[in-house]
Amino acid sequence: MSTTSGTGQRQLSVKVFTPEGTVHDGRVRMVIAPSVEGEIGILPRHMPVVALLKPGETRLRIDDGDDVLLATTAGYMSVEDDNVVILVEQAEHHDRIDRARAEAALNQAREDLTAAGDDEVLVHHARAAIHRAENRLKVVDRPR
């Protein structure tokens, strides 16, 4: 890391945690996350923020202009001292999402929901799977 001042050289440390594990841990230039009050962009030296996130796409801009795209569920983001912590129930790397598989998963989940009847555990699983699949498809299909 350079010691020169100015946002150009400074970076953010970003950690994306889910109950099932750490999805991303690294240094980035900028974070764009879907807050419930609209997209929120975080650059180095941002003031401390705690934000509620809605399901959508979280974008991490790495140093060389590459973006890491994550399909994230609802959750929270906190920013303090150039440390960004994102807590979501699920997060998936965009390039690891297989469109065909996501579609198949969506159809499967819809079938499961009809088949589940009144078994609440199954219904809940099916609903959660539908939300995940829809969010994945949304992120994959987004024009850029």
Binding site: F17, P19, T22, V49, V50, Y76, L87, E89, V121
Partner: protein, 298 residues
């Protein structure tokens, strides 16, 4: 004295059993390792969660009036969530939880609650509690060995719903805590209303409360955020309990199966000795008969 044939038969059957217990021990070991990894994986999320919550609670200031936190004056009905396994053959694992859940119910009654209901997680606990004639308001099962966050969500939604509807005034969580591979301890925690200590506590050893230095901008307001965080906190707490319980179950089963395999081995040793003795006796008997026969001829 049993014949050689009988003993051989028993050795075969004990060998068969020991093969099964050995296999179960190996399976439990593998599952235990996976369960431990999942507990590890949850830790950063849980820690971040607790930090956020304490930060939001500090900023929200007045915590009274939030239904999930507020201690109630009425003590009509309490719920005890007993987390057991779906399967047996794990030593005292399930019995310990059920016993602790019943003891907790007695404590709650002594504290002035007029009624206690049980919410059973895991096939075994629900069965036992029903058999003992206790009121079980819901019986979740099918995920004790590898619980997911979604599973925890279902349980959390049910107990939180009942609590907010006023069906229950307190919810206590009873589960096996995974201390180490050799040690499991039954843990009893108040889940609802969420204890103030849990809301405000700073989770880590570094003693660094979140947002202590600067005034953070909250989007939305701290009290709104806190209201949203609490259900997630409850999900996470239940998920952690399910994971701990799963790890404890596999550890308990591994120990139980190891003991069973060792016992089987010893039994096989004893039986082999008995068989050899019987064979020796039979040979001696035969020689005596031959000698006696030869003597009779001369």
């Amino acid at each position: 004295m049993p014949s050689q044939q009988d003993i051989k038969q028993r050795i075969r059957s004990v060998t068969g059993t020991s093969k099964i217990t050995r296999a179960m021990e190996l399976v439990a070991s593998a599952k235990l390792r996976r369960a431990q990894l999942r507990i590890e994986a949850l830790r950063p999320y849980a820690k971040g969660m607790a930090q956020l919550m304490s930060g939001a609670a500090r900023r929200a200031g007045n915590l009274s009036g939030i239904p999930l936190i507020e201690e109630r004056d009425e003590r009509r009905r309490a719920a005890v969530i007993a987390v057991t396994g779906d399967r047996g053959l794990a030593g005292a694992f399930n019995v310990n939880v059920v016993r602790a859940a019943l003891a907790t119910a007695d404590d709650l009654l002594a504290e002035g609650f007029s009624e206690v209901v049980f919410t059973a997680v895991g096939k075994k606990g629900g069965g036992t509690l029903r058999f003992r004639g206790r009121e079980v308001d819901h019986h979740f099962q099918g995920f004790s060995s590898e619980p997911t966050f979604d599973d925890a969500h279902v349980v959390a939604e049910f107990v939180t719903g009942r609590f907010l509807e006023g069906e229950t005034d307190r919810v206590v969580l009873v589960y096996n805590e995974f201390k180490s591979v050799m040690e499991q301890r039954v843990s009893v925690e108040v889940l609802l209303p969420v204890p103030r200590g849990a809301v405000e506590a700073v989770p880590d050893e570094e003693g660094q409360p979140a947002f202590s230095k600067a005034l953070a901008e909250f989007e939305p307001e701290p009290d709104v955020l806190l209201a949203r965080l609490l259900p997630t906190y409850i999900n996470t707490t239940i998920y952690r309990a399910l994971l701990e319980s799963a790890a404890a179950e596999h550890a308990a089963r591994r120990t139980a199966m190891r003991n069973a395999s060792d016992n089987a081995e010893q039994l096989i040793g004893d039986l082999t000795l008995a068989m050899n003795r019987a064979r020796q006796a039979a040979i001696t008997q035969e020689i005596l008969e031959v000698v006696a026969g030869a003597d009779a001829l001369t």
